[in-house]
């Protein structure tokens, strides 16, 4: 399950590019500066990830399934408070979570859709792989419920990204979780290796210095 430093670095850089593109899209929509960055990537078992995300509090999430040379489920997660903040910043009103209407949920779904499409899109572009995707779906519940909703928990690994979302001098931390089964994870690692090799390869073929 472990990745080498350089593989981790590569993944982080790829997701940062994806996050950057998503931020640019979001900022055009709200006419505010939006900063999105991915400070860390971790690999965990499902149960560990659920615990890290907090087992007692409720979280809201936008989930999409991607299918290609490997399958993964991508989930953008905000805690209850963070959800309210994001909705308030993007729509401009402070609305209690239980009052979050369908149409505001739709806004959250759109934000998730933009971020997830962007992350996987960048992965796809840089790995030269093609994915199809399901429509985004909204989930609300405990971390176990949200993570477990779409898959067989036992053989799944979680790639957990911390995402810092900054808008209007507010900083919110959300998370993007990628759920992969073990064989998908192996294939992802292969692609990362390939990507790193290509990056190093041009260097090693260059003139000596």
């Amino acid at each position: 399950m472990e990745l080498t430093d350089i593989q981790q670095d590569a993944l982080l850089e790829i997701f940062n590019i994806g996050a950057g593109h998503a931020a640019a899209t979001l900022s055009r929509m709200v006419n505010e500066e939006v900063m999105l960055s991915v400070p860390t990537v971790q690999f965990l078992k499902l149960a560990q990830a659920a615990e890290l995300l907090g087992t007692t509090r409720r979280i809201s999430a936008v989930a999409q399934s991607f299918n290609g040379p490997f399958k993964l489920e991508a989930i953008l997660i905000f805690s209850e408070n963070e959800t309210l903040e994001v909705v308030r910043l993007m729509i401009g009103e402070k609305i209690p979570l239980h009052e979050l209407t369908d149409l505001e949920q739709d806004a959250l779904i759109e934000i998730g859709n933009i971020i997830l499409n962007s992350c996987i899109g960048t992965l796809s572009e840089l790995f030269a792989t093609e994915f199809t995707s399901s429509l985004p779906a909204f989930r609300l519940g405990t971390s176990e419920e949200v993570l477990g909703a779409g898959c067989e928990p036992d053989d799944h690994v979680v790639m957990l990204l911390h995402v810092d979302f900054g808008l209007e001098r507010h900083n919110i931390r959300g998370h993007v979780v990628f759920l992969l089964d073990v064989s998908s994870l192996e294939r992802l690692k292969e692609r990362v290796n390939h990507f790193v090799y290509r990056a190093m390869g041009t260097d090693s073929q260059g003139a000596a210095h």
Binding site: R28, M90, D102, L103, D106, A107, I109, T132
Partner: protein
């Protein structure tokens, strides 16, 4: 009898009829973003007939399409990813209108949009744009939101008089006292009680009593002009006036003005001794360092109110921390001491 028509043509006719029967907009674009399918819903809302749409690039029909819509289409066609465009973040991207005669004809309908890739084995990738009219849903949600806000307001308002209630007063006094301590500006409180109110109710009935209360409350409100000043019903026939950034002399002046204004109403209270009309007694206190909590300030104003009652009603009394409470009857001067 005719041989049944070519089954493929039949299926196509059926599918076209299906697209036209569906109650949302359906647009199918080919790889070059030209319109392949344009259903009846689109015709009705955009006023663009089928033969003006089919075969044309979407861009040409809608040159002002937002960047978000364009990139969603690109994303579907190039990467094969679906996009949702919520109405809250994308206000009516397409120029579509409600039927003529509807209440809001002339306004763009509110749209919830999905842009999804259409992949099949035989054909190159196409793109489906699905548009739902969510105008009614938005209107319902706006109404609910307004009602929720009103409901919240009612928890702060007294049902009878329409002024602030006790809960609001307690919260306001607490926050203003804190602010007063931070800023150093004085906070004044006036506690007011309607004289011989039980007698009034006994004489004229409770409905008249209610009406009287409403009049008195509105008289207090009319004396105040600053938005930060608060009139609240403390309970029963007692009222409280919160005056931020007001010193003892300012508060005394306002209290006396209120006393005179209520007397000027001339509401008959036949069995009220001395005056024969509805009057009020007022206790004034100003927090200037000695009040640590709202309860301290209330106790001081209440104490002054009690003294005013005790000394004959229809007067103001002021809490003075340095001396015993000073009594000011209606005839005494209220000029602040010359500096």
């Amino acid at each position: 009898m005719n041989e049944s028509a070519d089954p493929i043509a039949t299926r196509l006719t059926l599918l076209t009829a299906l697209a036209d029967a569906v109650r949302c907009g359906l647009i199918v674009l080919d790889g070059e973003k030209r319109i392949i399918l344009w259903n009846s819903w689109m015709v009705h809302t955009s006023s663009i007939p089928k033969d003006s749409a089919v075969g044309k690039p979407l861009e040409r029909l809608f040159p002002d399409l937002t960047g978000r819509v364009r990139s969603a289409i690109d994303s579907a066609l190039e990467s094969g990813y679906p996009s949702v465009l919520s109405q809250s973040l994308n206000k009516s991207p397409f120029p579509l209108y409600a039927k003529k005669g509807a209440n809001d004809a002339g306004y763009r309908i509110k749209q919830a949009i999905e842009v999804v890739p259409m992949d099949s084995d035989e054909l190159p990738r196409h793109c489906l744009i699905q548009i739902a009219d969510v105008t009614a849903a938005v209107a319902r949600e706006d109404l609910l939101r307004i009602q929720a806000v009103e409901l919240r307001q009612h928890t702060y308002l007294d049902g009878l008089t329409g002024i602030a209630n006790r809960r609001r007063l307690d919260e306001y006094l607490e926050s203003e006292l804190r602010r007063s301590k931070r800023s150093g500006f004085p906070l004044s409180l006036i506690m007011i009680d309607i004289d011989h109110f039980k007698t009034y109710n006994d004489t004229y009935g409770h409905q008249a009593g209610d009406r009287c209360m409403v009049q008195v409350a509105s008289t207090f409100s009319s004396v105040l002009h600053r938005p930060a000043d608060l009139v609240a019903r403390y309970g029963g026939e007692e009222f409280a006036i919160v005056l931020p950034d007001t010193d003892i002399h300012g508060a005394m002046t306002i209290a006396e003005t209120m006393r005179k204004a209520v007397a000027a109403l001339g509401i008959e209270n036949a069995r009220a001794k001395t005056t024969g009309i509805v009057t009020v007694s007022l206790g004034v206190a100003t927090a200037e360092g000695w009040a640590r909590e709202p309860a301290d300030l209330i106790a001081a104003a209440d104490g002054a109110l009690y003294t005013a009652k005790h000394e004959g009603r229809n007067r103001i009394c002021v809490h003075d921390p340095a001396h015993a409470c000073g009594i000011v009857s209606p005839t005494h001067s209220l000029e602040p001491p010359t500096q």
